[in-house]
Amino acid sequence: DTEVTQTPKHLVMGMTNKKSLKCEQHMGHRAMYWYKQKAKKPPELMFVYSYEKLSINESVPSRFSPECPNSSLLNLHLHALQPEDSALYLCASSQVWSTASNEKLFFGSGTQLSVL
C-alpha cells in the first residue's frame, strides 16, 4: 500500500464553522506533512510531524491546528477560517524526517477547501 488517503475530497465551510481534514497512510512512515496550495502556485509547507511530534510550524495562523494521534493519522482542525484560506490542502508522508536530504514525499490527492 503506497497510498496517502485524504478525506474529505471537497469541503465548503462558513467562517464560523469548525471542521477537520483527515489524512491516513499505512506505509509505516514516521514523518507526515501538511501543505497548502493556491491555484497555479506551488505547494507551501505548513507543518511537519516527526514520530508524532510537531517538528515544524511554518508560522501558520492558529486557526489551523494540526494533530497527529498516531503514526498513521494526521488531522488538520479548522476554525474561524477566512475566504483567503480557500485552497487545496495536501497531506504527505515520508519514511522519516532526518538530516538527510533524499526524502521522497508521498502525497495524497488533497482536500479542496472553499471558505464562504
Binding site: V4, E44, L45, V48, S101, N102, F107, S109
Partner: protein
C-alpha cells in the same frame, strides 16, 4: 536554502523528447535532486531522484553535470498525459530550514 530556477512553461508536441533544466547554484555537498510531477487537483508525485551523473527509471532520466549546479529532467516521447507541472527540489538541512520547499515549477503542455 538551495534555491531552484526553472522555466515557467514549455510546450511540446506528442512523441517528442522534452528536457526541463533546473538551476541550483547553491546546492550543498550532501543534497539530492528530486523531481515531482503534479496534475491539476492532485498531489505531486515523485518521478526521479539523483545525486550525480545520470539516473534512469521507467518514467524519466535525470542528468546531473559534475558541478551539480544544474540538472535536466528528460521525458522521452511525451504524450498528452504528460501535461503537468514539474517541480525540481533540492534539500538543504541547515538549522531552521524546512526540508522540502517547492519552487515555481515548469508547466509542460503537450500538444497533439
Amino acid at each position: 536554502l538551495a534555491k531552484t530556477t526553472q522555466p515557467i512553461s514549455m510546450d511540446s508536441y506528442e512523441g517528442q523528447e522534452v528536457n526541463i533544466t533546473c538551476s541550483h547554484n547553491n546546492i550543498a555537498t550532501n543534497d539530492y535532486i528530486t523531481w515531482y510531477q503534479q496534475f491539476p487537483s492532485q498531489g505531486p508525485r515523485f518521478i526521479i531522484q539523483g545525486y550525480k551523473t545520470k539516473v534512469t527509471n521507467e518514467v524519466a532520466s535525470l542528468f546531473i553535470p559534475a558541478d551539480r549546479k544544474s540538472s535536466t529532467l528528460s521525458l522521452p516521447r511525451v504524450s498528452l498525459s504528460d501535461t503537468a507541472v514539474y517541480y525540481c527540489l533540492v534539500g538543504t538541512r541547515n538549522s531552521g530550514n524546512t526540508p522540502l520547499v517547492f519552487g515555481k515549477g515548469t508547466r509542460l503542455s503537450v500538444i497533439a
